[in-house]
């Protein structure tokens, strides 16, 4: 049993790339959690993709043993948090398991949009906050200025900030010392009834379902019967352990501690993150406040390019789901793309990451259809239905009105790009809520329809600000929208994979972009092919692909007909990835490219 006053549970909140993972690595190194050989850069970002993209997707945890200057041994539990807007929900859940946070700011960049969003979450969670200014080794580092910024913008005292370079390791020990001093130890009740929070769960090929828990009261030990209150299920605890950062078995986890539990749980879906855990034999009466489950907000279809891969895609999705309960999927059948799945994600990045993992880890080639959000269709007869697939769009005459989700977006951008950013937001039907300044950087708050954001907003924002704009958002509310289903017709046949729900006023310009793009992408056919965007029966944009005019072998090589026959066979092989639409064939690449967001 560990003395509770010697425990500190903390998270690091930061904008992406401010050095969170690097700092975590340095702390692990400093505390001797891993020897040099085991120490790969950014050990906490364990998935290949995380390491490659340099972002943290799933929260990870590590226990550090630290002997402070006061001569005592402390246990520091670090919960690494994801650094991207899509995963802000996971941030809040990580924060709920700790008493304090390190606010990490890149001293050469200053406060960014996610710095703000995350630190406010930490403040809301009643955290003690230790301010750490990173990257002081850089010539552009201006820690004094950033300190002032933090005080001005966030309104917290920054006088005791620690200056570090996570890269060189300078100041990292000071961070550990300050953590011990500044952060409160966990508190506990006088009785010893088990009260714990289910922080996360995932599937491990060797161990089965692993749950990450924070114990608030009492203790969890091997052999006991654990109750998950919301799930209303009981499990015998088989194993209890901590990550230091390798998984290591311990006898028990007691109040204040964070660790993992294995309890013969069959699937991740049987666990619900935020659930309260208690002792089945002497359960507490009221669960902890917990937190809301994460809900998918962005949907799209995922189809295998090779239709023979359908079963493999299904298996792979199921496997991924074991580790990531935040995305969902169901079967979908598209005439254009064959059999596939309709999937829901926390955001666009989440979508991209899942797609990439499917392609990389499971060697699948996929087509991703245009992302959609969840609409609420109010029918004339009073019925309300949620829709996230244009294919399910009901007959407009039966609909009273449709609501769409709006977000509140915080964008920080250097003054010189403000004009373009405002224009982008206005073009995307945004309404301005606030505009203020931090130094020469503007902080704009906009309400935006989410469906304009999933289209290509983030990429556009990055490109018009040359990468300087930072962005964070939260779902806000649903509002009535002037929404229609726009269809794309090629040679007068609707291509379901390209249908999308759009604002009526924006339909024409979007339709035009897609028609133009398709015209470039579809190879010429034996006759001219109209490419149209239409709402209901009304065509709103049109392009014509002119007919192929010359495609013939001028010379038949003497009696060598085999040559021509072989050429035809080769051509046929090259056209394997063609899809037949009535009289014409469209290469699948054309769909993929037309659907590719963000490069128009």
């Amino acid at each position: 049993m560990n003395e509770i006053s010697h425990i500190r549970n903390f998270a690091i909140v930061a904008h992406i790339d401010h050095g969170k993972s690097t700092l975590a690595d340095r702390m692990i190194e400093t505390c001797g959690g891993l020897n040099k050989r085991e120490m790969k850069a950014q050990v906490l970002d364990s998935m290949d993709i995380e390491r490659e993209r340099g972002i943290t997707i799933k929260a990870q945890t590590v226990r550090l043993s630290f002997q402070a200057k006061d001569g005592r041994d402390y246990i520091l539990n670090l919960i690494d948090t994801p650094g991207h807007v899509d995963f802000s929900y996971e941030v809040s859940r990580s924060l709920a398991a700790c008493e304090g946070s390190i606010l990490l700011v890149d001293s050469s960049q200053g406060v960014e949009a996610q710095t703000l969003a995350n630190v406010y979450q930490a403040i809301d969670a009643n955290h003690d906050i230790l301010i750490v200014l990173n990257k002081i080794d850089l010539p552009a580092s201006e820690p004094e200025k950033v300190k002032q910024q933090i005080e001005d913008v966030i309104g917290i005292d920054a006088s005791e900030s620690v200056y570090i370079s996570a890269k060189t390791g300078h100041g990292v020990k000071d961070v550990l010392e300050e953590l011990v001093i500044k952060l409160s130890p966990p508190s506990m009740k006088s009785d010893d009834e088990l009260e714990a929070l289910l922080v996360d769960s995932w599937y491990d090929a060797y161990l089965g379902v692993v749950i990450l828990v924070r114990v608030y009261n009492g203790r969890i030990e091997k052999g006991m019967k654990l109750r998950m209150m919301a799930a209303e299920s009981d499990h015998i605890v088989e194993k209890v352990g901590v990550f230091d950062p390798k998984a290591r078995d311990v006898d028990s986890l007691s109040a204040g501690e964070i660790g993992f539990v294995i309890a013969g749980i069959k699937q991740v879906a049987d666990t619900s993150v935020g659930d309260t855990l208690t002792n089945s034999l002497s359960p507490i009466s009221k669960p902890l406040s917990g937190f809301k489950p994460s809900i998918p907000v962005v949907f799209c279809g995922l189809f295998p390019i090779d239709s023979g891969d359908y079963i493999q895609l299904k298996d792979s999705l199921e496997k991924l789901k074991l580790n990531d309960s935040s995305f969902i999927f169901e079967k979908e059948n598209s005439p254009a793309l064959g059999f596939g799945f309709r999937c829901g994600f926390l955001g666009l990045l989440h979508l991209e990451i899942i797609q990439e993992r499917l392609e990389r880890e499971f060697k699948l080639n996929l087509i991703t259809t245009a992302p959609s959000v969840i609409y609420k269709a109010h029918f004339i007869d009073g019925k309300i239905i949620e829709l996230h697939n244009p294919a399910d769009w009901p007959d407009p005459t039966q609909i009273d009105f449709v609501e769409e989700p709006w977000i509140k977006a915080t964008i920080m951008v250097p003054d010189e790009y403000l004009g373009s950013v405002l224009k982008l937001c206005e073009d995307r039907r945004g309404s301005q809520e606030d505009l203020s300044y931090i130094g020469n950087r503007a902080v704009v708050v906009y309400k935006l329809p989410l469906n304009e954001v999933v289209f290509d907003f983030y990429d556009r924002l990055k490109s018009i600000s040359k990468g300087y704009a930072s962005f964070d958002y939260q779902l806000d509310n649903y509002e009535k929208g002037n929404l229609v289903k726009m269809q794309i017709l090629v040679n007068n046949e609707g291509i379901d994979a390209l249908s999308m729900i759009v604002n009526k006023l924006r339909a024409e310009s979007r339709g035009r972009v897609i028609c133009e793009r398709l015209k470039d992408l579809i190879p010429r056919q034996l006759f001219k092919v109209p490419i149209q965007a239409a709402i209901g029966g009304k065509v709103i944009a049109r392009e014509t692909l002119s007919a192929m005019r010359k495609d013939v072998l001028a010379k038949c090589y003497g009696g060598d007909i085999s040559r021509k026959r072989k050429l035809l066979e080769k051509q046929k092989k090259g056209k394997k990835r063609m899809r037949q639409f009535g009289k014409i064939e469209i290469p699948q690449d054309a769909f993929i490219a037309a659907l590719k967001i963000g490069d128009d």
């Binding site: 001028a554 003497g558 009696g559 007909i561 085999s562």
Partner: protein, 390 residues
């Protein structure tokens, strides 16, 4: 009245043109007697694969067969006539390059039995001739045509168009000159320049140094040819071939009608009947190896296979749809399980008819002039119908 053609391939040329992808080699000292022996032996070998006796056409192609002596040609012709019966209307063609077409040569070829000349003019424009790497100029070409005209009743010359930087306006003027000469000979082959892999032109194209006319321009040129050829009464009877009535190439029509033919010489192809199937024979490609095999071993055959019914059916279309005349359904149906009558009812093919690319009459079919310009894509559809049963 089944017809048989014989093709003799002569693989040598004085210089190799940068666009050429035929089985050719730069001329070197060769032992003519050995080569003659080889051709004669191989004609005998290959003739065993057909039971047809009457030869309707003989074609000396290349390469540059006009480099061969008339004596050589005569011995080959004589050997063929001793082993087959020669049709009274037999057509015997030799391909000639203007640089090796003196009046005397032509005259001797005529005495040897040759009754048709096919001359590789390529262009009457010296700049283009130079670009094409030819070893003759337009003056030599015109002179050769004149000699041919006085000596032969049937003759052809070849033209290449779609040359980099070629302008529509200049091409139009050239076409008039071309058709004037063609009218006097009664036949013209006019080919769009094809850039073939592994040729010097291909490398130029890949390195961006070949400014080929656009698809639009090429199509305009093609239709311009059709229009002018009608005016000169030399209508298209095959995609790239034009003739006055009765001056069509009997030998080449044999390929396009999918008749039987024997190909002798390095890399030459044969198609012969084998029960109700078609058999393909291919000769060894390398001239040296071919000669060795024929002289020292049994024969020069590199590959011998019976084509599947569908392969043969596709070949009927590949060849037959190049022609202006209708393709009779029995030529196709003898091979294909799916009959032509059914095929033209399939949506993929029906679409072609609706779009005016194909015409059908009493279930015979043919490509229209517009259709011929995009024959590749048309064949692709037929292939899909026949082999994937679309």
């Amino acid at each position: 009245m089944k017809s048989l053609g014989i093709y003799i391939h002569w693989p040598w040329c004085k210089t190799i043109c940068p666009y050429c992808d035929f089985n050719v080699k730069k001329f070197e000292e060769i032992d003519t007697d050995t080569w003659l022996k080889a051709y004669i032996k191989e004609i005998k070998n290959i003739s065993l694969f057909t039971n047809l006796k009457e030869v309707k056409s003989i074609y000396f192609g290349g390469g540059t067969p006009s480099l061969i002596s008339a004596e050589f040609i005569e011995k080959v012709i004589n050997f063929i006539s001793n082993n087959f019966s020669i049709s009274s209307s037999v057509e015997i063609t030799i391909e000639a390059n203007p640089s090796s077409t003196k009046y005397n040569n032509l005259y001797n070829f005529k005495l040897a039995g040759v009754n048709r000349i096919s001359l590789g003019v390529q262009s009457f424009n010296n700049r283009d001739l130079k670009f094409l790497g030819r070893d003759h100029d337009s003056y030599q070409a015109k002179k050769a045509i004149k000699h041919i005209n006085t000596l032969f009743n049937k003759a052809n010359f070849d033209i290449i168009y779609g040359i980099p930087d070629q302008k529509i306006s200049t091409f139009k003027k050239e076409l008039n000159e071309i058709f004037n000469f063609a009218q006097s000979l009664g036949h013209l082959s006019i080919y769009q320049l094809t850039i073939e892999p592994r040729t010097p032109f291909y490398k130029l194209l890949k390195s961006g140094k070949l400014n080929l006319p656009s698809e639009e321009k090429l199509s305009d040129m093609y239709f311009m040819i059709q229009e002018i050829s009608e005016r000169y009464k030399l209508p298209q009877y095959e995609i790239s071939n034009h003739s006055t009535f009765g001056h069509e190439s009997i030998h080449n029509l044999g390929y396009w009608r999918y008749n039987q033919y024997l190909g002798i010489g390095p890399g030459a192809h044969s198609r012969v009947s084998k029960n109700s199937n078609r058999m393909s024979l291919i000769q060894i490609k390398s001239p040296k190896e071919w000669l060795n095999a024929v002289i020292k071993d049994t024969n020069g055959i590199a590959n011998k296979e019976i084509l599947s019914k569908n392969e043969a059916a596709m070949e009927v279309l590949i060849t037959g749809l190049r022609l202006k005349e209708f393709l009779p359904n029995d030529r196709f149906n003898q091979f294909s399980k799916l009959k032509l009558e059914e095929i033209i009812e399939k949506p993929l093919i029906k679409g072609l008819i609706e779009e005016g690319l194909i015409e059908s009459k009493k279930s015979k079919i043919r490509t229209t002039s517009k259709g011929k310009a995009v024959l590749n894509s048309i064949l692709y559809r037929f292939d899909k119908v026949i082999n994937s049963n679309y």
